[in-house]
Structure formats: C-alpha cells, structure tokens
C-alpha cells in the first residue's frame, strides 16, 4: 500500500470503513430505558420527601460531580472548585434575583438573574481554570482547593454582597404559566430535565472532536501539541464547559433550599463532590450520578441507622469514609468499575460454549 495518495486528505471511501454509527448515544440498552422510565414516573411512586430530598438532591449533586468527571475523567484535571462554582452561581441568583435580604438582592426576575448567574459563574470558573492549567497533577488540586477555600472564607466575611455567615435567605423561585415551579413535582422535573441534558451533553461531547482532543490532552499533552493542538486553550475550554454545568446545578441548588450560605460552599462540601465522583466512577458520565445517589442515601439514612444500633448519628461520615476506602481499594474506577467487572465475569462463561470466536 503506497502512501503517495494517503499523506494528504484524500476523500475516498475506505473499504473497511463500516464502523457503527456513533452519532447519538446508545439507545438500545434496555437498562437505560428502564432507568429513564422510572425517573420519569417517579412522582407517581415517590412522596415529596423522596422526590426532593433524595432524587432531586442526587441529580443536583450528581450534575456538579459530572462537571468534575468531565475535567478529571476526560481531561485528567482534578478540580476541587466545582462546588465553589455552583455555590458562586447560587449566590449570584440570590444577589441578582429576589430574596428576603432586600438590602442585598437586586430583585431582577429569575429569567434575567439566572442567565447573569450562569454567565458570571462560567467566567469565574474559566478564570480559575486558566490559573489551574498552568500546573499539573497535585498542584492543580491545590490551586482549585485554594480557590474553594478562599471563596468560603470570603463569603463568611463579606457582608456587602454575600451577607456574611448568615448567607442569603428566602430566595425567590420562578412562578409562571400559573405554576409554582418550586412545588415538589414541577421542581423534580426541572431538575431531571437539567440533569439529563447535562448528562447527554457530556456523553455526546466525549465522542466529538472537542471531547476526543480533551482525552488526548489527558493521555499525552506533549504529543497533542505536536499534532497542532493548543493544549492550554483546550484545557481552559474544558473548564468553561464544566463551569457552565456546575453553574446550572448551582441555580437548581439555591432554588431547592431557597437559601445559600457559606456552609454550602465549605471545603468539606468541595471534597464531598470529589468523593461522589470517585465513588461513582469518573470514566463515564453515569458514574457521578451513581456516586451521588449512594452519598445522598448514606447521608439521609445512615444517621437513623447509626442511632438505631446505638452509635452517634453524626458518624454517618465515618460510613461514607469507609465505603469510599472500600470502593477505591477494590476498584480504581468506582462503582462503575465494579459493575463492569461483574458484567464481564458473567459474560465470559456464557460466551465459551457458544463458540462464536471473535478475532482480534
């Protein structure tokens, strides 16, 4: 085979080019359909408590962790400031929108306050990312953690905008078309829609040039530069996308609790996002949501469980910590990794008698 024609971009159909269409996410996975249907009819099966405290909270935390998954799983950049970006966005919704603190809030309608919050939080995260991409590995973690910690202490001490340690309360939520969108069922569907949108967007991007190049940057930044890519620009763009996703989740978070205070953007909360992403698995977009569900279930029920067996309820973090240790010990790829290994071990014995040998 001569290279004479091939070294240039010659458009001719390669004979073996019959690769499966990967233009849209997998739609033939029955498990995914079952999960989708359950999520859609959830208001019929779950009461208000489960709907909001468990599932909506899971989806919000999962979406913040998804933004970390995009950076860490595809880009190889562990950012501890994703919750800070979400918190910044939440604060901005409260500051520009309507709240009980009339001296601080500007009282804009939600459809003005939300785009403003998203834009500012995306800029905030992108600037943080522009700082962080100058470093690698553990230094990226340190810089983003420093940004998170600085923001936490700043919100604690700044009264003019962030109202100090009391935060901003009674934040207004959208009402239109005669619907109170913060009522349990409408709010659940808003959260589900945003979560699903972010999930499918990240899944889609992973096979688009931007996402592929991001994975290339993760695997070998020097070679990416030698292929014509501006590696730092790509990394900063990834921070911008991740910041926008985190900012969306931040808007939902402030609508969910109707208040925002420094406690929501503490360093502990930043690390919780990392734990959620790692426990779920950071190689695929579904991982953060699985991790968030485990985290929320533990946080909600471990307390009762611990009290029942005669321990201090505040020890629920101990359970999370032990679970975290166990998962990273047995699977470097979180729950997804465990699941995939189990699936493979199930499949292997089933394949053998079939004799359908695959080559390669």
């Amino acid at each position: 085979m001569s290279l004479a024609h091939d070294a240039r971009v010659a458009v001719r159909p390669a004979a073996e080019a019959q690769r499966p269409a990967q233009t849209w996410p997998e739609v033939n996975n029955p498990a995914a359909w079952i999960v989708a249907v359950i999520l859609l009819i959830m208001p019929l099966i779950a009461n208000g408590f489960f709907l909001i405290e468990i599932f909506a909270t899971t989806l919000i935390l999962g979406t913040i962790a998804l933004s970390l998954m995009l950076l860490a799983g595809y880009g190889g950049m562990v950012s501890l400031m994703q919750l800070t970006i979400a918190g910044f966005s939440a604060y901005m919704v409260a500051v520009f929108g309507i709240s009980g603190n009339a001296n601080i809030s500007l009282g804009w309608p939600w459809w003005l306050a939300v785009p403003m919050a998203l834009a500012l939080a995306t800029i905030f995260g992108t600037l943080g990312g522009a700082l962080a991409v100058r470093t690698e590995g553990i230094y990226t973690i340190m810089i983003t953690l420093a940004i998170g910690a600085a923001f936490y202490y700043f919100t604690n001490q700044n009264w003019a905008i962030f109202n100090g340690h009391t935060g901003i309360n009674t934040v207004g939520t959208p009402h239109f078309w005669g619907v109170d969108w913060r009522a349990d069922i409408p709010f659940y569907y808003i959260v589900l829609a945003v979560g699903a949108l972010c999930y499918f967007a990240v899944d889609y991007i992973s096979r688009a040039p931007f996402g592929l190049a991001l994975q290339g940057v993760r695997d070998n930044p020097r070679r990416m530069a030698a292929l014509g890519f501006n590696v730092n620009a790509h990394r900063i763009a990834a921070y911008a996308v991740a910041s926008f996703i985190a900012a969306l989740a931040g808007v939902l978070q402030v609508w969910n609790y109707r208040q925002i205070s420094p406690g929501s953007v503490s360093v502990n909360a930043c690390i919780d996002i990392l734990i959620i992403a790692i426990v779920g698995g950071i190689t695929r977009p579904i991982g953060p949501y699985i991790g968030a569900l485990i985290f929320v279930l533990l946080r909600t029920f471990a307390l009762d469980f611990l009290v029942k067996i005669g321990l201090d309820g505040n020890r629920f973090r101990l359970l999370i910590g032990l679970g975290f240790l166990a998962i990273v010990f047995w699977s470097s790829d979180g729950v997804i990794g465990l699941w995939q290994r189990w699936r493979q071990s199930q499949r292997r014995p089933a394949d053998r008698p079939g004799g359908g040998r695959s080559h390669g």
Binding site: S2, P13, A14, Q215, R223, A225, G228, H234
Partner: protein, 260 residues
C-alpha cells in the same frame, strides 16, 4: 539588518528548514552548540551520531518542544524560533517520537482522527463527526496505509510494539505535511517491519522532505540522499551517504569504533 544577512535570508527562503547558530543549554550542559543546517524542500536527510550527540534535542528545538537557548529557526522562510509547537505543526511540520507518544486510552482510529483534526479547523467542535466526515475518511486511509485497519477499533494500549511504531508514523503524516522529523522510527522493529518502514518512507510524495534519526544504517542510508553527522552537540560532518560511510573520521567515531 545588514545586506549580507538579508541576502542570506533571501537565499534561505527556498529551504524547508534553516537553522542558524542554534544552541540549547540544559543548565551547564550544552546539548546543542552553534548548529547551522539548511535542508531543502523535499530533501531527505539522515542525522547520525552516538547517544548524547544532540540529535533528539535538535528535533525538540525544531518542533519547539524545547525552545533553543539562542539562534534562529526558519521553516519555509518564516522565522518560527519563538512559535509554540502547535503553530509550527499547523504550518506543515511533523514529528515522530523515539519512544512512542500515543494516546493509550483511545482507539487507533481516534488517535489518527485526532492527528487529522489537529491540523485542520474545528478542533473545538462539539459536533460528532458523521458517516461522511472527510477527516474520518482521511483517518481511515492513513490507518490503512500503515497496515493497521485490522486493529483500528482497538485501544492503543492493547497494540503490539511494532503496531505502535506504525501508528506513530501515521500520526506524523496526517493532513498535508511539508516536512517530517522521524526520531528512530525503526527502534524495536522486526526485520519485516523494517522493510515495511523503508517502503513507507520511500513511497512518500516527493515534495515531503524529512530528517531521520536512525542507528540502523540499512534503514537510514536507503531512504536518504544526504547525511549530517553530529558529535557532542555539534555538526561534525555533512555529505552524501557514501562519503559519510567511507569517511575515516566518521568510521573512527561512529561506524567502526562504536564504543565511547
């Protein structure tokens, strides 16, 4: 700028690659000292020299992986001395690495697709390539050209060494290369694979020049028309392959002596 320098650069405009007084220091160690080389467009040249002669550092300076400490580098007449690597690559420069520098987490196809995407528009595109994507076809053709079609959907981490070396070459030939730097492409290849490599190199379109670093004389001297011999960071000798091969000083240093 005086008129002599202007005339020199006017002469150099016909060259693919023109290095003037390129020096690269690593602390106190001078890896390259005052290297001046001109390579014509379409010229194929071998760079020989023992380990530590500065061959790979030369490549790193040309691509911008490490900028030179002093001196200038022109690529097709344009001063690229202070350009980042990706700007040089977009102008038609390519390189391969001595130790394969691939993307182990991605498939062969995606590796080559990234190489094609890197030298064209839409690097930040959020739209997945469709069935009739021109770059996908270009990637398919390149994969086929380096005999990797059978494994194109495998992850690179699962490939054999020889296949990884072939992929390394495919990545350097994406888009419209004008000049390629091959850093020991035959390292670790079997005799059959070496023959395939020679075939790939000799069948490159005539306008694509290259510099090849290669210890295997059978490979190196069959695919080049000129040879530059380096020693301790300096240019030691330049000439035709036969001249270099029969030069007593070179034989003393490299071909015969071997051990230093």
């Amino acid at each position: 700028m005086d008129s002599v320098a202007q005339r020199l650069s006017a002469v150099g405009a016909g060259a693919a690659l023109e290095l003037r007084g390129v020096t690269r220091l690593f602390g106190a160690l001078a890896a390259l000292i005052d290297v001046t080389i001109t390579v014509r467009a379409g010229e194929r040249r071998a760079v020989l020299g023992s380990n530590g002669a500065g061959k790979t550092t030369l490549f790193n300076c040309i691509t911008g992986d490490f900028p030179p400490s002093s001196g200038t580098i022109r690529f097709f007449g344009e001063d690229v001395t202070h350009f980042p690597p990706y700007e040089r690559i977009r102008r038609g420069l390519r390189r391969t690495y001595q130790i394969s520098a691939l993307f182990p987490g991605l498939t062969v196809q995606d590796n080559v697709y990234l190489a094609c995407r890197g030298v064209s528009r839409g690097r930040f595109s959020f739209l997945r390539p469709g069935q009739n994507d021109a770059l996908m076809h270009a990637a398919d053709n390149l994969v086929q050209a380096v005999h990797l079609t059978g494994v194109k959907n495998q992850r690179v981490a699962e490939l054999a060494h020889g296949q990884q070396r072939q992929l390394e070459i495919a990545l350097a030939l994406a888009g419209a290369p004008r000049f390629v730097l091959f850093d020991e492409p035959a390292a670790g290849l079997s005799p059959t694979e070496r023959a395939e490599l020679v075939e790939i190199l000799t069948s490159l379109p005539a306008h694509i020049g290259y510099i090849i670093i290669e210890h295997d004389m059978d490979v190196a001297l069959r695919v080049v028309e000129s040879v530059t011999m380096m020693h301790n960071g300096r240019i030691f000798k330049e000439g035709l392959p036969q001249e270099i091969q029969s030069d007593p000083e070179v034989q003393e240093l490299y071909l015969g002596g071997g051990h230093e």
